[in-house]
């Protein structure tokens, strides 16, 4: 027979234990990622974007599409560049015509079916370009929702899609808060930026990093303490996108603004 005292004791311990979520015990920072040296893999790919340097030429988008065999005229792309223009009346205008495959060669803001909007130079408060790509999250929601194990996180942190295994259900496309996924027009499977996995494993830069004349894009290994990109991420002021989702994105931005989502 259990005594009343024991019963109350055990209940309190049980309730207290059950109320601590596993997530509360975990805190993941770039520094900890780097420190996890016992880890089998010595590489954790990360990306650094300097929005001050980006001029919106879109050479990265062009190079990415050609390198990764994404049909050139289909309106899908693994990486794209967004333009943000804040006017003196406080309005924010943003566009990315064709994902900036052809750059920004007009001052008119693309409004899709509503035409375009020309903003006078005098009305601009601030304006800049933001390159976007897959964040290769440490907690990738797209991987969690895949019902068949077709998308996964490789040991070096890059999220890949197994084209032969993907059933095309589209859960991952819905699950990504950054909207980086789409269906490949030829294979009809989920498609996404994979940091040019075939290039970075041969010691090359990604196609977008190599094509950027201004050094706005850089890739690095956060686990290598001598890596210049890792150094900037761990010692300088950088920001990430949609931190509140808890996805722990691994694309870091210099010069990010509150309008950028």
């Amino acid at each position: 027979m259990i005594s009343r005292r024991d019963f109350i004791k055990k209940t309190v311990i049980g309730v207290a234990g059950a109320s601590i979520p596993v997530a509360a015990l975990e805190l993941l920072t770039p520094r900890r990622l780097r420190a996890e040296k016992e880890d089998k893999s010595r590489v954790r790919w990360v990306f650094l974007v300097d929005t001050y340097k980006c001029v919106g030429c879109g050479m990265c988008v062009k190079a990415c599409k050609l390198e990764n065999e994404i049909p050139y005229d289909a309106n899908v792309t693994r990486t794209w560049v967004e333009r943000y223009v804040t006017t003196k009346d406080g309005k924010v205008h943003a566009d990315t015509p064709k994902g900036a495959r052809d750059g920004f060669i007009t001052s008119k803001i693309d409004l899709g079916t509503d035409g375009s909007l020309d903003i006078r130079k005098e009305d601009i408060d601030k304006a800049f370009f933001v390159p976007k790509l897959c964040n290769q999250c440490e907690n990738p929601p797209c991987v969690q929702v895949c019902p068949v194990g077709a998308t996964y996180q490789a040991p070096d942190g890059v999220v890949l899609v197994d084209r032969s295994w993907c059933i095309g259900c589209g859960y991952c496309i819905m699950g990504c808060p950054y909207g980086v996924r789409f269906f490949h027009p030829v294979y009809h499977t989920a498609e996404k930026c994979n940091f040019c996995y075939h290039r970075i494993n041969k010691g090359l830069q990604t196609a977008c990093v190599q094509a950027c004349p201004f050094g706005a894009r850089r890739i690095g290994n956060i686990k290598d303490p001598r890596d210049p990109v890792a150094k900037i991420i761990t010692t300088e002021r950088v920001a990430i996108l949609k931190e509140e989702y808890g996805t722990k994105p691994q694309v870091y931005y210099i010069g990010l603004d509150k309008e950028v989502k």
């Binding site: 089998k40 893999s41 929005t51 001050y52 340097k53 980006c54 001029v55 919106g56 030429c57 879109g58 050479m59 062009k62 190079a63 050609l66 390198e67 990764n68 223009v85 052809d102 750059g103 920004f104 060669i105 007009t106 001052s107 130079k121 601009i124 601030k126 304006a127 800049f128 370009f129 907690n139 990738p140 991987v143 969690q144 194990g149 077709a150 998308t151 996964y152 996180q153 490789a154 040991p155 890949l160 197994d162 032969s164 295994w165 994979n194 996995y197 075939h198 290039r199 494993n201 041969k202 090359l204 830069q205 196609a207 190599q210 094509a211 004349p213 201004f214 050094g215 706005a216 010069g255």
Partner: protein, 157 residues
């Protein structure tokens, strides 16, 4: 136990065994739970190697500079030195064997990617000299007058 219980039970057991046998053959050996556990690391391991084998198309300026040393030297002394060869000349892939000749993009739109004037503060674009394409010799290829490898005005053809 009665027959009406045993028989369906047997059918169910057979079905389960059948599924297990099919599964053993159908699911690739490298499919399973890997480093990051079931939530993030449940996949076909061989696919990682598949992606590594993907064809490289952009070879980089270092790939060009030995055979095209003169062109490389000229552009390296100009502000255009920062532009990789393949941005304008297209991806080298297996050049010179395949393709034997690269197609150069000489369109006005290519130059305008940087030289359309957008005076955006806090963006590097504001520091690049630009022209209004509607007023500056419209319809003509920029390279008819300007040498992209010697973009300064002294390089005018």
């Amino acid at each position: 136990m009665n027959n009406h219980v045993l028989r369906p039970l047997l059918v169910v057991i057979l079905l389960v065994v059948l599924v297990l046998i099919v599964r053993a053959f159908y699911v690739p050996k490298s499919f399973g739970v890997h480093q990051r556990g079931y939530m993030y690391g449940w996949y076909r391991d061989a696919n990682v190697e598949d992606w590594k084998k993907f064809k490289v198309k952009y070879q980089g300026t270092d790939y060009c500079k030995d055979c095209h040393a003169k062109n490389h030297e000229t552009i390296m002394m100009t502000p255009h030195a920062i532009i990789p060869c393949e941005d304008c000349h297209g991806p080298a892939v297996d050049h010179p064997s395949d393709p034997a000749k690269l197609t150069i993009d000489k369109s006005r739109e290519l130059c305008l990617r940087c030289h359309y004037p957008l005076a955006y503060p806090t963006s590097g674009r504001a520091n690049i000299r630009g022209v209004d394409p509607e007023k500056h010799n419209p319809g003509m290829e920029c390279s008819l007058c300007h040498n992209p490898h010697k973009p300064g005005l002294e390089g005018l053809k």
